[in-house]
Symmetry: D2
Subunit: 361 residues, 4 copies
């Protein structure tokens, strides 16, 4: 029982391998009547694509998306939106030297164990290239969420040991796209960029953190008891390649606070809206949005593909050396930002539609 579908009401199913013919996605459940801004979708893909700056992989992938269905006269029709991205820069020959080797901390061995076979070209289905399909779908989710006033902003908050020293409230999130790292703190961004270039020079890779801030979500989204809003966000973000951890609101650090310190007191603002004075809840209480800003952080490990030689085994169980080559990411964080934005959008679009059934209308 496969797992290439995400969502219940706004439901996406992706397909495609790194070096196959192409990859794509079907969105089933997108409401009719949304202005379909194809340029925006292509722009989100551009934020994820390789080769966009000197601190990411220099592979050239155009990632041009072709819309096959579900749009008519510029609007969504309510029927499935099919989108495909053809692989242009396949270069299968790059991978012949590792076809029977299990690359360390990749999914080569586990795919082999699971299916009894695998597409060894660039990781096949396990490649992060799959996320291009998610980004295309998430961009459509964003088009829907915009009609509701929801805004999602992710930024790089740590690279290796270099962390942004400010909270997300203290940052100017409009600066995210002002540098190739996608960190809205320009000084820290410069340090991060330097670090990434240094790592790259060593043929090595490095991890980091992203922070995501979501504004404009009304109170009431999220479904008790398993499909809590933060549980779905957690699953969606953890399903992104290289993600090792997820926390929202006060997160891991918050466990040292006592209840009397951690609780967010309610008050009524001048418009009669119920608000909280603090937001350690991260905009979510009991798994349901409370109208405050939602925020979470996610950890991404260093990319497994390195240029440095590594010990491993092959399918026959023999000792082999895996030698890196090709054009790989020294740090996925700058590109992960686009993926996190759009995965969060998929979760929220789904929850928005699910909320429509909560009560007698």
């Amino acid at each position: 029982m496969a797992g290439s579908t995400y969502g219940t009401a706004f439901k996406i199913t992706t397909f495609g391998e790194s070096h196959g013919v192409g990859l794509g996605v079907i969105i089933d459940g997108c409401p009719a009547g949304i202005d379909f801004d194809e340029e925006f979708i292509q722009g989100e893909l551009a934020r994820r694509k390789p080769g966009q700056s000197k601190i990411v992989t220099q592979r050239k992938e155009e990632d041009g998306v072709q819309v096959l269905s579900g749009v008519f006269e510029g609007k969504t029709t309510g029927t499935p939106i099919g989108m495909v991205i053809y692989n242009k820069d396949q270069r299968s020959r790059d991978y012949g030297h590792i076809f029977d080797k299990f690359r360390p901390s990749h999914a080569d061995y586990t795919f082999h164990a699971k299916y009894g076979m695998r597409d060894y070209r660039g990781g096949g289905r396990s490649s992060a290239r799959e996320t291009a399909a998610r980004v295309a779908a998430g961009a459509v989710a964003q088009l829907y969420l915009r009609t509701l006033g929801v805004d999602i902003k992710t930024y790089v908050s740590q690279v290796g040991s270099i962390a942004v020293g400010k909270t997300h409230e203290e940052l100017d999130l409009s600066l995210i796209e002002s540098n190739p790292v996608r960190c809205p703190d320009p000084e820290t961004a410069a340090l991060m960029e330097k670090e990434i270039l240094s790592v790259r020079k060593d043929g090595d890779t490095i991890g980091g953190l992203v922070t995501c801030v979501i504004k404009g979500v009304p109170a009431g989204w999220g479904e008790p008891v398993f499909d809590k809003l933060h549980a779905e966000l957690g699953k969606a973000i953890l399903s992104i390649n290289a993600c090792k951890g997820f926390e929202y609101g006060s997160g891991f650090a918050g466990v040292t606070l006592r209840g009397s310190q951690h609780n967010d007191a309610f008050y009524t603002d001048e418009n009669g809206t119920v608000k909280t004075r603090t937001n350690r809840s991260g905009g979510i209480q009991g798994g349901i949005s409370n109208g405050e800003n939602i925020y979470f952080r996610a950890a991404f490990k260093s990319v497994a593909t390195i240029i440095i030689d590594q010990d491993s085994v092959n399918e026959a169980g023999e000792d082999v050396t895996v030698s890196g080559k090709g054009r790989h990411d020294p740090c996925v964080l700058p590109r992960a930002v686009a993926i996190v934005d759009n995965m969060a959008a998929l979760v929220l679009a789904d929850m928005s539609l699910r909320q429509r059934s909560a009560r007698l209308s």
Copy 2:
């Protein structure tokens, strides 16, 4: 579109409110032929139930489970297993003083916003009492997993600022049940217990961390690309009340490691099994188990119910004071251990069955 179902192949649906008639669960998809050890199930419920020691709430709930279906002559039949736990200690009168107040950092306000109404008795559906139903179901999942040699052990690794100084490999996990905190490091357990009693004396609450270690999972469990094993574990654990974060393997701390430091080298052991020399992957690569031990950590915030007076508002938006009373948990961690064990079991049972469809048999 509601969210009280978890799992795809081993599927559970829970129902019930804190102070309603009862709560329970249907398991649909449990394989036929499993020896149904009702005593074990009741034992898992006992590990979760209130009143089991002086460091948890003193509420008395028997949590006796009644099996209604799906078991015949001591074995599971393959048809749905219905289980119900009647609420004995309802004491609805305890809650009259807060029926229209939104308790800080509870789900009162968000349920009200979502449904336009709510069962205000003890949090209703949002109460952690719901997890009793999950534990009953998870215990059945454990009975199934035992037949495959899978063993799950969760322990308390931090309370407030008091953390276990050893890794899970350095600990003797058979000591988990040797103290009421459920920490296998006796010295640290004593400090944690003292801290919890101190917090309780102040009418306050405190958070902490659990660590879960899963042994015996074969390579191949987990479904690309959204239903990765760790993504499902993350969702399941994050859906537990008060959980604020999830990380597996190297987690958040691992992001500072370079690829050359983080990658787990493969080798073939004396039995011809492919193994990794280190396990920063946490037993999962590309979302699929690799045969190594799986481990993760989860953060639980301090319980929202405190005895200390708090500012809040009521349904009319007026300022009110919420005064705590009753018998509440100063720290959920010791009881959370049983919930985490059993939620992990639900994820693994599901993934085990899903794996059966992966290839031509």
Copy 3:
């Protein structure tokens, strides 16, 4: 991967065996705010229960439903509604004589083949007693549909070879409950009753047809392309024990009509509503309701349990004789009416909620 769940937005999961402790259902996804009329639910169960007249089985089952959750202060809360019906009249001893025999045209053999074991008491999970849980859930669906003006009426239109000679438009559907057969044509009902009593006297059973007419469904319910409204109705009705066929609108007989004879011409009525002059479409076009009355027919075979001796085999493959005894239905049709009404209600409630996501609101 089990199949005890029906519905996507208004989702039910049933459990329970004929002679186990009890059976029941969880409804997950019922909107908050519906007046919960428990008497109506009990009334629907009374229409399904055995022993209600001399033409159905004389088994005595009270079928009293206990509501465990999801209702507060007389209204649905939006959280799961758990309901249980305890088995009172178990008499397990009745079934000892057949515990290893495969009764002809029952599910004994197929359950054994599927699960490697079975609960042989009265058919266990395969017993039509399971439909009591569906009826309870369907009655809640009816409470929801009432708020939208939807009305469902099923009647017996044929018993053996005795068929009602009038169309559903020519009948007075308020007469359905005026006789024990539940046929709104009193003369035909009398003949049917006589036939059933004659069959019963012979220790035999007989089949028949029901017709269902649904009024008040607005245009727009039903989901292209697999979950068409009539496809979901078909699945739901075919899933009822003994059902062998389903047709809607012009059905099987309509295939002899040419397109020019079959098509339903549109016109606009005095209120500006688009209507059709004829209704061979059965109120559904392209799988979506068009605002006209929905109608369908379903075929139910004769009950497999007869008093007459039959040849069969046992689990060891040896020839045996199955001798009927006990109190069984000579004809399920009068009781099937209640099941069909409520299964149709489940389909429509689900489709109503699903429609809420179809477009930008």
Copy 4:
């Protein structure tokens, strides 16, 4: 909540409109290791495509399928199989004259009511052209089922009033493809062909029946209680455009039989296999296959598109005349055969995989 997905374990999602860029399907859950016979898939599409004989529409659609993913070195990989069929013969101009008219007994009005808009080109998503994607997916299901020895054969058993006089056991099913009607009774096929040509000459259309016979399904497939094998077959077949009815085994006609006449007696054959002497059950008992041949019949109404002028209304509610033109099917039955074969294959492949979880292995 959309409905373009079918299946639980062998899960397909289709997309595409009649006159959009293209249509296609993702299969998620196809086991790894199946020999991927692309020629067979293309052959199944050829059996469905228009223009294949003089008794079907003369539209030219190549329906060449492009496989985008999920196949490597000639075998399925276990990851999603994406397939796309580009629309070549769009001719959108054909549809300008009806863009705001509701064609009688089409889905124009209901799509408009549901989504507030519609793609009016050739019916858009409601067009039977969507079934090409199902056929491609079903052909892959057939490749899987072949490895298990399952064989599916559908034929035309009635056109208008011209019916095959023999049972499926009396026919030589290898003759199905021997004539353009796809009726294995050559004399009747000739009469049917004559009838279809006559109807076509009148600018009219006609309906009919298909019969499907499935051999080689082992005992044990099908899931109690809602996802019974025949209920899923019913839903799948009823979801095909123009289908109005479904019956299996003894069907509608069987309701006149008494239990003593209808029951299928069990015996043990020379190989020790449990068999039934008759097969009124249609190979399914209690919703689970019993090892006998499965058979069902389905009714298809006359195609709604006729050349003859018809009264209707437009979006403004004004009276209009719909004048047929273009190249349409006088009778869908010959092409429906391929769709029914492949929808049945999808149901069976799904049930086969679901059965893998039924018991301890």
